[in-house]
Symmetry: C2
């Protein structure tokens, strides 16, 4: 069957231990190193992962936990982008990826992960302020990196975009354009992204001395929420609407058009995510671009880094976002 270190030892005339050192970068004379490398190349040897794991305590495999409704998981390019980014970064560092989706209860999933052992660490999507699975992983002895975070948590490692700053940036953009009655159709209550974007909006408005009373409508990240949010905001006399994401903005745009409101002349409109369709709307949508694949890749790197140096304290990464200005805010003649 497969070659073992002993086979290679016979073939190259050195001890098993020396081969292992060559493999793992231990101290070994250059001459013998070359000799061993030659045999290695010639035989196409590859180490037994299980034995290596048993002896070293590290498996070279990490877990990815995306505990979501299937529809959400795949309907939304967000999660697929994450997966792609993680897969890339892990493959680059010869690390395997085990995947847990939401087909069992959080309780069971947590047990599965602990039971199967053999993952050195996990990356878990954490989009809710409260999540038993995330809590369980953080409480376990498994090194864990969150994608997303809970604001009050100071001990967990995470990768996220700075939703607060990004939302404030869009809002300031609208303010800079001369808009004063800026409404917000928020994301799902309880979601970190939703709450943070709301916070960013509120902060920017407050900083500009603008009121937000009656200007915030609760949404849920869906087009329907965008549609539903438009009438009360028109009622409140808005001249701009910042939606918690592009999907919401697309619904809002439809409702505005139906109501005969000119965008952006009467009401400027902005979203968040820069999904593919955003540039194709009429008018093209001003929005926030976040590289989802980059988030996934960064999470993978952070986890590997954490495994390398577990005592380095929690890693907290906020990735930057980019304001993409399109005609839904600047295309009209308003204020010109």
């Amino acid at each position: 069957m497969s070659l073992t270190l002993d086979d290679l030892a016979s073939l190259s005339g050195v001890s098993r231990a020396t081969i292992s050192r060559v493999l793992n970068g231990g101290p070994v004379a250059e001459a013998t190193r070359q000799k061993v490398l030659a045999v290695l190349a010639e035989t196409g040897y590859s180490p037994n992962r299980a034995a290596r794991t048993l002896a070293s305590g590290r498996s070279g495999v990490v877990g990815v936990v995306m505990h979501l409704e299937p529809a959400l998981l795949f309907g939304d390019p967000y999660f697929s982008g994450l997966l792609q980014g993680m897969s890339d970064a892990l493959a680059e560092r010869a690390t395997g990826m085990m995947l847990w989706l939401g087909n069992r209860s959080k309780q069971e999933t947590l047990q599965d992960i602990e039971r199967i052992g053999l993952v050195d660490g996990v990356i878990v999507t954490a989009h809710w302020q409260d999540d038993a699975l995330v809590d369980g992983l953080l409480a376990s002895r498994i090194p864990t990196v969150l994608i997303g975070h809970r604001r009050e948590d100071r001990t967990a490692s995470y990768v996220d975009v700075d939703n607060v700053a990004a939302a404030a940036m869009v809002t300031r953009h609208l303010i800079d354009l001369g808009r004063r009655r800026i409404g917000h159709i928020s994301g799902l209550a309880g979601s970190v992204a939703g709450e943070d974007r709301l916070t960013g909006y509120t902060q920017a408005m407050a900083a500009a001395g603008l009121p937000t009373d009656a200007l915030v409508v609760r949404g849920d990240f869906n087009p329907a929420a965008g549609r539903a949010g438009v009438p009360p905001l028109l009622e409140a006399g808005v001249d701009a609407i910042f939606c918690a994401n592009d999907a919401t903005a697309s619904g809002a745009l439809a409702a505005l058009v139906e109501a005969g409101v000119a965008v952006p002349d009467d009401v400027a409109l902005a979203g968040f995510d820069d999904l593919d369709f955003a540039a194709g709307l009429t008018p093209p949508l001003t929005t926030i671009r976040q590289s989802v694949a980059a988030q996934g890749a960064e999470a993978a790197r952070v986890l590997l880094d954490l495994l390398e140096d577990p005592d380095g304290g929690p890693r907290r990464i906020l990735l930057p976002t980019e304001l993409i200005i399109r005609q839904s805010t600047t295309g009209g003649t308003h204020g010109a």
Copy 2:
């Protein structure tokens, strides 16, 4: 840290081997079994996967290889459905899932899989008549199950839907409705599904003594191909069009409407897949429903079965499909 068999042996007063037997269903007296089980439950012991793998040669982890363009992987609900189905079936049998996506070359991916060892077997999507990665896996010593298959291959285990039979079923449905000039906009050349559906169509036409000259247009599974296929088929005087998938059918429908052709009165239209949008078209689309999640789950079961009994020969599973009749073929007054 973690408990070992030796710890449990001390705790329960039997030997390590006996504990192992209880764990693996070996012969053990009922009394001692109960005693051991009690200790097991009490301690919440879970075996070290690496050690178990090393000793037994089986890891309890399988690989899933979906080597595709990212856009295809996640744009198409097909692949997400597969993943979901596999994940379900594997979780049910306490088997872990490692994932390889298309972020490295086929060559590298193959090496990765072999190098990482520790997968007992793999499931690989095989939608092309020729695929170096699939060939490589089949040639390796890793037990492999294909999703999709190559018709000429009699040795590989696979799970697929019976594309030939399904396509023949739709075609017969059109024939039974009295259509005679039935056109086909095919799938991508070189794809198994595309070729098989073309075969099914051709067979059904031949069986009914109907000609197919000038009635077949090459497509590529996309709406644009559907649009492009309509003019030549109208030219050929069709009274029905069977498209290789729903996406193609949606494009064809748009082109028919634009050309002022009544569906189904003038031309009946059928697709394949029964994607979500099919029922929402105007008119709702007659199509073939294939349960993608079921395919994924079945592939997982087949692989586990193959691992259980490697000498049972290749498993070749063709899952049934269902003809979903809607108004794009039966809604009109044609032939009434």
